[in-house]
Symmetry: C2
Subunit: 377 residues, 2 copies
Amino acid sequence: MTIGILGGGQLGYMLALAGYPLDFHFRFLDPSPQAPVGRIAPRVTAEYTDYEALDRFAHGLALVTYEFENVPVEAARHLAKHVPVYPPPEALEAAQDRLEEKTLFRKLRIPTTEFVALSSAAELAAAVQTLGLPCVLKTRRLGYDGKGQWVLRTPEDVAALNRDFPAAPLILEKFVSFERELSILAVRGRKGETAFYPLVENHHRGGILRLSLAPAPQLSLGLQHEAENAARRILEALDYVGVLAVELFESRGRLLANEIAPRVHNSGHWSIEGAVASQFQNHLRAVAGLPLGATRTLGHSAMLNLIGELPEAAELLAIPDAHLHLYGKSPRPGRKVGHVTVRADSSEQLALRLKQLPAFFQREEFCLPVQTSSVAK
Amino acid sequence: MTIGILGGGQLGYMLALAGYPLDFHFRFLDPSPQAPVGRIAPRVTAEYTDYEALDRFAHGLALVTYEFENVPVEAARHLAKHVPVYPPPEALEAAQDRLEEKTLFRKLRIPTTEFVALSSAAELAAAVQTLGLPCVLKTRRLGYDGKGQWVLRTPEDVAALNRDFPAAPLILEKFVSFERELSILAVRGRKGETAFYPLVENHHRGGILRLSLAPAPQLSLGLQHEAENAARRILEALDYVGVLAVELFESRGRLLANEIAPRVHNSGHWSIEGAVASQFQNHLRAVAGLPLGATRTLGHSAMLNLIGELPEAAELLAIPDAHLHLYGKSPRPGRKVGHVTVRADSSEQLALRLKQLPAFFQREEFCLPVQTSSVAK
C-alpha cells in the first residue's frame, strides 16, 4: 500500500519511519526541494495548488493524508475526488480558521474562551466592551507560533491597534488566566474506534513549544476523562480518521479548549519511546484501516524541542534512556531541527535524569528544571 | 555522516531505520537488485568481489560495516585500506570458519564442544574414535540454517558418509545434549566500552530460528554473568567494535559456546521494542564512536519469525503490544519475510498474550505455547 503525504517536513519523516515496518510505501508532495523526506522516500516537488502535480502525485496511491495543517483545503478536496483523504478535508477547514474551530467547540458544548468575530476596526470597541479587558485579537487564519496575535490590556492598547488595524478576518478572545497548557492526542479509526494518549503538559517560549511532559504531572483521572470526552466529540463531529491534537488550558481545575491540529503533533513526539504505539504508527494504522495500537505509556517521558541549534550528540547519548531525533535540516534560528525524549520509570527518576542533561539543555529556554512528581488522584 | 553497509537485507533495513533519527545517512552494497533497502537508501548493486564497485561504494563514506556475515574477508580488507571497517575483518574471518571460531573459544578458555579438524575421509575414523559417537560433521565454512551438517549416530552412519565424503574443509564436533539454546547480544564501542543484553532463549525448527524469548525464562544472574564474561573475552580478543551475537547451549546449568555472528542478529530483533536501545541503534552508536545505549529490557518479549508466509496484519495488530515488522520481500518458502514482537510487563502476561495470537501463530512451527515464567535467582 502506497500512502501519499502532503507536506514533507519532520512529521512526514517520522510517519515514514513508523510506517516502513508495516510495509507501507510512501510518496510525498512538498513545495521545497529541501524537504527532509527526500532522503527516505520518493517526493514530488510542487506547490499544493498545482493541480496537475497533485494528480501526478495521487496516481496509484491507496490514500492521502497530510502532515501540514495549512495545506489548502481546495487541494485536499481536489484529491478526495480520486482517492480517499484522511483526515477529511472538513477537519482541515475547521482547524485552519480560529472562528470555525471555536464555533465547533461551542456547538459541541466544549468549554472554550469567550470570543467574538471581527472584520473591521469599527467593530472592535463593541467587541472589547462585550468581552472586557484584557483580551487577545488574533487573525482567524495562518497564525502560528505566536504570530498574528495582539494582547490588549488597556484602552490605550485598543486605541493604538485601532489606528493600525490588521487587514484580515479576525477573532477577539477573552484573555484567560490559566495554570498550565495541556494537550491530548486522540486517534480515530475508519470504523469509528477511538484511543487517547494521556494528557501532556506543554511549556512554550516565544510561542514555540519547548518541553512536553507525558503524562502531565499531577494528572487526575477526572481531568483525563474531561479531555477524552472533549476530543471524542470533536472526532465524531468531524467524522475524523487519524490522529488529532487538542490543545487546552487548565484553569482552576477545568479544561478550556484552545485549538485543534488535524495531524500528528509536536506534543506527541514523546510517544515514539514513551508509549506502546507511537502517534505516528497510530495515525497510519487509523488511515490504513488497521486496528489502533495501544496508547499505554511506558514510564514517564519529557520531550525537549531542538530549536535552531543542536546539542553535542555524544554528550546527550551518554544519558541513560535519552533519545535523539534529528530531522536532517540545517540549523537556523527558530527552526525545529530535532527533539530529544528522556524517559524514566518514575517521575522522580525523570526529574533526576533531566538534571543530568548537558549544560546545553539547562538554559532558560528549555524550561528545565521541572516539577514532575505525578500523582494519579 | 554516511555509513556504508555491505549487504542489503532486512538487517540492513532495520539498521537504516534505527539510524535515520541520529541523522546518519546510509549507502548499501548488495549483489541483488531486489535488496529491500533500495526503498529507503541509495544502493550499489554489485558483487562483493567487484573491487571497482567497492571503491565506488566507499567513496566519501565515514565508515563501513556489514549486515551479512559471508561478505568475503578480502572485500572487507580491501575497503579497510581506505576507510574504517567495523567490526574488524579479523572478526569476519573468525566467524566464517567453524574451526577458527572454536579454536578462538578454546584459546579464550570459553567452554565449547570437543572438536577435531578434518580434511579427508581418511581422517574420519580416527576423529570419531577420539570424540566418540554421536558426533556431528560440519563444513567449516558457509554452513547456515542446518545446511552442511551430518549427524553421525552409528558406525553405519560413519561408513555411509565415508562412501560419499564432502569435498570441503570440515570439523567434527562431539554431539552435545543440551537443555536449551541461548544467545547473548553484546556490543563494544570504539573506546572499548561494552554492554550486554540479557540472554535470550531460542527455538529452532528445521535449523531456522522461529522464536526468541527475552529475557530467557528462568534466567539466573550466574548464567548471565557467565555469558557476559565469555562474550567480553571474545570482543576483546578480536578488538571488536559493534554488535556481536554469541550462540550458546545450556547443558546441566553450564554454557557451551556454539558460534558467533559478527553482526546484528535475528535473536536480537526483540530489542526494538523490548529494550531501551535496540541492537540496531547500539551497533550504529558503537561503530560511529557514540556512547552505547542502555540495554535494559522493557518488560518481557517474544520474537516470532515469519518464514515464507505472512499473517493477516489486522488480526495480529489487534493484540495489545504486538509489533509487526515486514521486510518488504515477497514471500517464498523458507524465506524470512518479517518478524513479530509481542511484549508484556510480566512473563505471565506475555504467556497469556501469546495464547491470544491468531491461529496462524498457533501452528507447531512457531514453537508456541511456551513456558515463560521467569525467575531471577
